[in-house]
Symmetry: C2
Subunit: 250 residues, 2 copies
């Protein structure tokens, strides 16, 4: 039988923030090709005898370049396997799922894409931060804080405009550059901000405060693990949710 | 026992794009307070003897103003009920969940927020459109096409900038205004775009083409139901997914 590849969003990390469709596909897969961002709790939901292939993709640990991941998916499908390519969050939000989808289409391999709860939504829900809010934030912008040859190549003039909430993925190391870029284009240094670590998992931690102070205090606060930075007036509209949380103010 | 309110993202409509956490809470709820955007397939997952309260919120059918919904949630919780406030998509992305959370916090009612797959992610996955894509779109912007007293009050200068994907919620009736605003601020009229109806459900339909042509053809194409508009060069990077789809080109 011909193989099939599912590009599946694994959500933010908590097993119960997986979709029912993702859970079913994990239970049926012959092979799971997974990232570093996919948590153990999610991997535990895979068919017990499924083959597991770790392809890395943490910053320091590029186990396999993207092109080799693409070719691996094609090869597995051609062996007639039912492949789940499991990604943290959503496959099409900073997940390079587009490149995998294009390769599969080019090579004539059948595939489907299964959306997932992306980190910003999970972080915000658990922190009680409305990403959009009447009269405060009518635009929600997702950006990556990854650098291109050491430089943060962002359109700061657009990002600094009022009335929006910024959700910045993978931005920990570039926070000082980000602060400089945003404030030099007019964003007030006191704009409410929250830095959220291990968002959407039971270990979520949060540091909240005016952007400039938060950036100054962050190095002493971070404990490692994926982090998301949320910036905008909507952060000040947060309502304390009832689940136990680790929140620091600065 | 004290009541509890869960603000729950019901996802895009397909029952299996609900999260496991949302499914569990629906099975445990005493009362479900739900919107028009929540599909029947999702409502069918609720505890059979749960009370169901429909609070409308389609454009033409404001059954209950937001303030009354807020008060209803407080009242039900004070009766000791386990309340699920079920919303289409994600509670904090154009869902007015922030206002409900603030009211609950103000009134001392315990609550939690459960994220969901927002429409843009589901539409893009099913259409094969990468919302971010290397070298093409590094920013993803969510906007609402709702008007304020008949005017589309958007920051077109920011939205027209290159290198981003725009996902426009609830924008069907304001598409001509949107086109005018974007193109007059420099967005090429031929920018690739897709209009997606009933996204993330088995009935997803899609119209794809250069923005100006798409806006011209849309009135004859729409069949009703919620729609999402995606604009940006990333739309041209779409790879045809294998699931059966209804795609028209213009």
């Amino acid at each position: 039988p011909p193989g099939m590849v599912y590009l599946v969003g694994g959500g933010p990390g908590a097993a119960d923030l997986l979709t029912l469709r993702a859970q079913r596909l994990l239970g049926e897969a012959d092979v799971i090709v997974h990232d570093k961002l996919v948590g153990e709790a999610v991997m535990a939901m895979a068919r017990r005898d499924a083959e597991r292939i770790f392809v890395g993709k943490s910053r320091a640990n590029h186990c396999l370049p993207q092109e080799e991941i693409n070719r691996l998916l094609v090869r597995l499908a051609r062996q007639g396997k039912r492949v789940v390519r499991l990604k943290g969050g959503d496959p099409f939000v900073f997940g390079r799922g587009g490149e995998e989808a294009q390769e599969l289409a080019r090579e004539g391999v059948a595939f489907e894409v299964v959306p997932g709860v992306t980190a910003a939504l999970a972080c915000a829900a658990q922190a009680g931060i409305p990403l959009t809010h009447r009269g405060v934030a009518r635009v929600l912008t997702f950006v990556t804080g990854h650098t291109k040859e050491g430089r943060l190549d962002l359109d700061f003039a657009a990002l600094a405009r009022p009335g929006q909430t910024l959700a910045i993925y993978m931005g920990i190391t570039t926070m000082p550059q980000l602060l400089e870029g945003l404030t030099s284009h007019g964003l007030p240094a006191a704009t409410p901000a929250a830095l959220i670590e291990r968002g959407g998992t039971p270990d979520q931690r949060e540091l909240r405060g005016p952007l400039a102070q938060l950036v100054a205090q962050a190095p002493g606060w971070v404990a490692g693990g994926p982090a998301l930075l949320v910036i905008g007036e909507a952060v000040a509209e947060a309502a304390l949710v009832s689940a136990a949380r680790d929140v620091a103010m600065c």
